[in-house]
Every structure is written in C-alpha cells, then in structure tokens.
C-alpha cells in the first residue's frame, strides 16, 4: 500500500450559519483519478477551495505525502505541488496559446521574453499530452472548447505538480471534445499524477475515474471503486435515498418499455 500523496481527514468549514463541510475525508494516491461527486451544495467546491488554499479549512488535518501540512493561501498549495484548473478556464482569449501557458510565469532572457524557449517548451508539453491544436501561436479565442480546456490543463502542469484538481472540466463540452479531455485526464494518470475530478456527469466519472468519493450535505456519503459499484449505488449515495427521483424515473421508463412490449 503506497502512501497517499494527499489525504484529508476531519475537514470542517463553516460559512456563517452554513456548515459547508463537516468532518470530510479524501485520499488521493499517485496515478489515481478520484472523482469527487455530489449534488449542488454538497460541498465539492468548498473542499476544492480548501485544498487549493482559497478558503482554508476551520479544522481538520491535511497530509501531504504522509506528513501534516498547513494550506492557508493559494501559494501554499502551489508550492506543495497542487494545481487547480477552475471551471471558467481562466484563459486570456486575446493571447495566444504560448502566452496563456506561461502567463504570470514567463521565461525571460536578458530582461526580454524568451519567445523561442517558451514556444519550444509549449510545443513539447502539448505534444507529450497529445493535445492537438492548429498552432501554438493562435489566440485562444480561436480554439474549440475542448482545446481550450486542454490548454488550461496543460498550463497547470508547468509547475510540475503532483496533484491536479479539475473543476467540471467537461461541463460545457460536446461529445467529441469531452472525449479529448477524458483522454487527457488518463494521460495525467499515466504520468503518475493524482487527479481530483469534480464532475456532475456520472458517465464521465465511470469512464475515467478509479474511485468516486461522494459528498452529501458536507459529509462523506460513500467511497466507491468504479469497477465494483453500479451507477445506482452512486446515485443513491448522492441523493441519500434508494427511493429517489432518478430511480423512480428509471422505474417509470422501464415500465413504459415493458408496456410497449406487451402491446406487441
């Protein structure tokens, strides 16, 4: 059993009257994709912000490669090796791919931007991730949603992180583009990175994740190995009831199917 690269235990966070997280736990091993799933308001985003250092936890323990650490600001998280790709992508549409990849972290030679060095590095990085874009010199505005997401993910890798958190990376994407991004997530896993994937889409979760951690009302509501759990079990954990809107709907459509068969 390897030591998890990141593990959280007993993490609680309160915003005024709202207990956003209570005693939440999460573990990520190197080369593992952990999906963080839950309904709206379940505490997924809060947990991500705790790990990213945007909103530090009120209490609880965070261990990095086995030793306890404090993450009180975004810089602490980046310094440890935790990269976060936010949902809104945070790319500058007007800048080209190279400029976006290195924004805030530009390479300079003799006080001048090292365009050749950055372009080479960018091409190598995108190539190694098999990200296909027409040219690293096109403005990001000219790219498709999947390509933009790939650029945002590639950018998070420049700091050589060990854990990457992806917040709803496929939320606004079409089928083919979603597949591109899922491929990319698998490549991150193959590189030995720990990936935390926040997603609403259980199909994506089943396709790419090794484990699904379910949060409900700020508490852990289940931890499933993807190969062993059925979608029903996960949905049940998310909604907190075996009799839920999803199962009722499924039962109803199943009835409808059997009725049509009876008609025949």
């Amino acid at each position: 059993m390897t030591t998890p690269v990141l593990s959280l235990s007993g993490v609680s966070k309160r915003f005024g009257a709202v207990q956003a997280l209570s005693e939440a736990e999460l573990e990520v091993n190197p080369g593992e994709v952990v999906a963080l799933v839950g309904d709206n308001g379940a505490g997924k985003s809060t947990l991500v912000k705790v790990i990213a250092g945007v909103n530090p936890a009120d209490s609880g323990e965070i261990r990095w490669e086995g030793r306890p650490v404090a993450i009180s600001k975004p810089h602490d998280a980046t310094a440890l090796g935790i990269a976060t790709v936010y949902q809104d992508l945070s790319l500058c549409d007007n800048l080209d791919v190279v400029a976006n990849l290195f924004l805030g972290n530009e390479t300079i030679r003799f006080q001048v931007l090292d365009e050749i060095g950055m372009e080479r590095h960018a091409s190598e990085l995108l190539h190694s991730l098999s990200v296909r874009i027409p040219s690293v010199r096109v403005p990001v505005a000219a790219l498709s949603g999947g390509q933009r997401q790939s650029v945002a993910i590639a950018r998070s890798l420049l700091g050589e992180p060990k854990v990457v958190m992806l917040d709803e990376p496929t939320a606004a994407l079409g089928v083919a583009q979603t597949a591109q991004v899922l491929d990319l997530i698998e490549r991150l896993r193959d590189r030995g990175l720990g990936v935390i994937l926040i997603s609403h889409n259980l199909a994506d979760v089943k396709a790419v994740a090794d484990r699904a951690v379910v949060l409900r009302l700020g508490r852990n509501a289940g931890d499933f190995r993807i190969g062993e759990a059925t979608q029903e079990e996960i949905v049940q954990a998310i909604t907190g009831a075996s009799d839920n809107a999803v199962s009722r709907r499924r039962a109803r459509t199943a009835d409808a199917v059997s009725l049509t068969e009876v008609d025949k």
Binding site: Y86, D88, L89, S90, L91, C92, D93, N94, L95, D96, V98, A99, L103, G104, N105, E106, I108, Q111, V112, L113, E115, I116, E119, R120, S123, E124, L126, H127, R132, I133, P134, S135, V136, R137, V138, P139, A141, A142
Partner: protein, 353 residues
C-alpha cells in the same frame, strides 16, 4: 525595424493551418522541432490595420503632392509634419498602454498643462535645467500615480477618475500660474526644441526614442505581455499570479510620465509654461489609438498602429493648412475618419474568430 518586423508577422499570421489532420500534426511536430524566430501574434487584424493605415498615409501623400505640389513634398514640410506629430505622439504611446490594459486616460492634456506650469515656476526655474526636467517628469508621473491608485485600489471607474483629474489638474495649473504664461528663462531649456541633428529637430528624436522603448516594453517584456493579459481578462491574470492592481497603477504612471515628457517638449517649443497647454490632447491621443486598431475595451492593439494614427491626423492637418482650408472643415474630416475607423474595427472583429 519594428514596423517591418510587425508587418512580416502580420503576413505569416494570416497563413491558414492545413485542413488535413495528419498534415496538421506533422506541421505541429515540425514546429516543435525547430521553432522560428517570429513575433507573438496579438490579433492579425491589428497588423492588417497597420497596412491599411500605411495605405491611407500614401493616399494622403498623393493628395498632398497633387493639391500642393510646391510645398507638400519638401524636406522642410515633412520635417514639419514629424515635429508637429512629436508631442502628441509621445502622449499616444502612454495612452496605448493604458487602453490595451483595459483603461482610459482623459487627463493627459491637463497633466501636460500642470507639468509645464510646475516646471516653469520661478522657484523651479531657479534650480536650472535639471530641476525643470525633473519636476516635469515627477509631476506627470505623480498625477498618473494618483489616477492609478484611485482606479486600482479605490476601485473607481477610470473614466470618472481621469475626468476628475482633467478638471482639477488644469485648475491647479491655473492656480499655480495665475493664468499667466510663464516665460522660460533657462536658455538651455529652449535648446531642446531648437537643436537639430542632421536637419531633424531633437523633438523628433525624443519621439523616436519613446516609441522604440515603448514598443520594446509592450512587445518584448513581461510587463507588456501582462498588460495585454489584464486588458483581455483581468480575472485570469489575477489567477495567474499577476498583481493586477499594481500593474494597472503602473500603466497610469506610465501615461503620466509620457505627459511629463510631452510637457517638456511643448514648453521648449513654445518657450513658455501655460495652463492652456495640451488642451483637447486627450481626444487626439484617444482618436489616434482607436484608428490605429486598438480595441477601446482593451486586450488588443498595437503601438505601430497608434503612431500611424498620429501620422494620419497630423498629415491631414498639414494638408488642410497647405490648401488654406479652415479648421472647422478639418475637424469635420477628423470626426468622419474616427467613425470610419471604428466601423472598420467592428467589421474586422466580426470577421475574425
């Protein structure tokens, strides 16, 4: 040769990537293997606009050569155009930075007046040339700093802050000078405008120097790159670890500093410091930046375009004077050009992805 270099980029930028997937990947691989030295493309549309403006300048040249054959295409007239363009050109460099960074500076004319008056008070003049130059630059940068701090840290709208500075800086200039022109008593100061090197006045060299430094900073340094980023998406810039507030403040300081330089040039040219200096310069500078292809909303633009914009305006003024046409007609023509430029900008924006 920044102009030539950026033109070349404009051409290569319009090259369409091959449609075939495999060719594209191979092309990308080849690109990775041997990256070529070329400039960052910050919107091919902006560079294409530069080409268009050069066309307009050539057209104006032809009009000049036809309507005023004896006087337009003479060396002295061309030097005259350049000299006229020099003061507003320097202001435009600072304005380009501010607008690309997503702001606007309406106070440039007033800052010029204040810097010119401050640097020509009897007290300042008693410190000689060095004191005068230093105070002009310091007053310009200081006023810009006030603008920047109010906008970034006070979270006020740039339009309002610089409008307030427009009113109050000129008011302060009037207060300091008692609304009288202050004659420059330091002879070496006037030499700034009188000195000619190879037949070209010093003022033109100052403009050239400011432009070269400005171009290098905008296109070759981290500061310039981050200015584009902040103008494009300030939130993304912040998440990338850029101190957006500090950077925005510096942009206004830069604009103020350019106004300080312009004040020195204007004061030397007229041999007086006056609270009436630089009136309506803000409009000329903003107009030049806009017809130069810089987006008023920020994030996209080019210094070369802005300077060509200044060139177009100055040449038109020159043509009108040579042909004895009145200032009102001149102003109508300028207005029409600004509208045409913005219409063109909307078109090219709709065309580009």
């Amino acid at each position: 040769m920044p102009v030539l270099a950026s033109l070349r980029t404009g051409m290569s930028g319009q090259r369409r990537p091959p449609a075939d997937e495999h060719t594209r990947v191979e092309a990308a691989a080849a690109e990775a293997a041997q990256p070529q030295r070329r400039l960052v493309l910050l919107g091919a549309a902006g560079e294409a606009r530069s080409l268009g403006l050069i066309g307009v300048l050539v057209l104006l040249g032809i009009v000049g050569a036809v309507t005023a054959p004896a006087s337009f295409l003479t060396t002295s007239n061309l030097v005259n155009i350049l000299t006229t363009a020099s003061v507003i050109g320097v202001v435009t460099v600072g304005m380009t930075f501010v607008i690309i960074g997503g702001g606007i500076d309406l106070s440039v004319g007033a800052m010029i007046a204040l810097a010119s008056v401050w640097s020509t008070t009897l007290a300042t003049q008693s410190h000689g040339l060095g004191g005068m130059l230093f105070s002009a630059l310091l007053v310009g940068a200081g006023a810009g700093l006030v603008n920047g701090i109010l906008i970034s840290y006070g979270r006020l709208v740039p339009f309002i802050v610089t409008l307030a500075m427009l009113v109050s800086a000129r008011g302060l200039a009037e207060q300091l000078s008692n609304r009288r022109s202050q004659i420059v008593e330091v002879p070496s100061f006037a030499d700034i405008a009188l000195t000619r090197v190879l037949g070209v006045p010093m003022l033109v060299y100052i403009l050239a120097a400011v432009c070269v430094v400005g171009w290098l900073v905008l296109n070759r340094t981290t500061f310039g790159r981050r200015t584009f980023a902040i103008g494009g998406n300030p939130e993304a810039a912040r998440l990338a670890g850029i101190d957006v507030k500090r950077h925005t403040t510096l942009l206004y300081v830069l604009s103020g500093l350019c106004c300080g330089i312009a004040a020195i040039m204007l004061t030397a040219q007229t041999n007086t410091g006056a609270s009436t200096h630089g009136q309506l310069y803000e409009l000329d500078a903003i107009a030049a930046v806009i017809i130069g292809g810089t987006l008023l909303s920020g994030g996209r633009g080019s210094l070369v375009g802005s300077l060509l914009g200044v060139g177009v305006f100055t040449t038109i003024t020159n043509l009108f004077i040579l042909n004895n046409l009145s200032t009102p007609i001149q102003n109508i023509a300028k207005g029409a050009i600004i509208v045409a430029a913005v219409l063109l900008q909307l078109r090219s924006r709709a065309a580009s992805p």
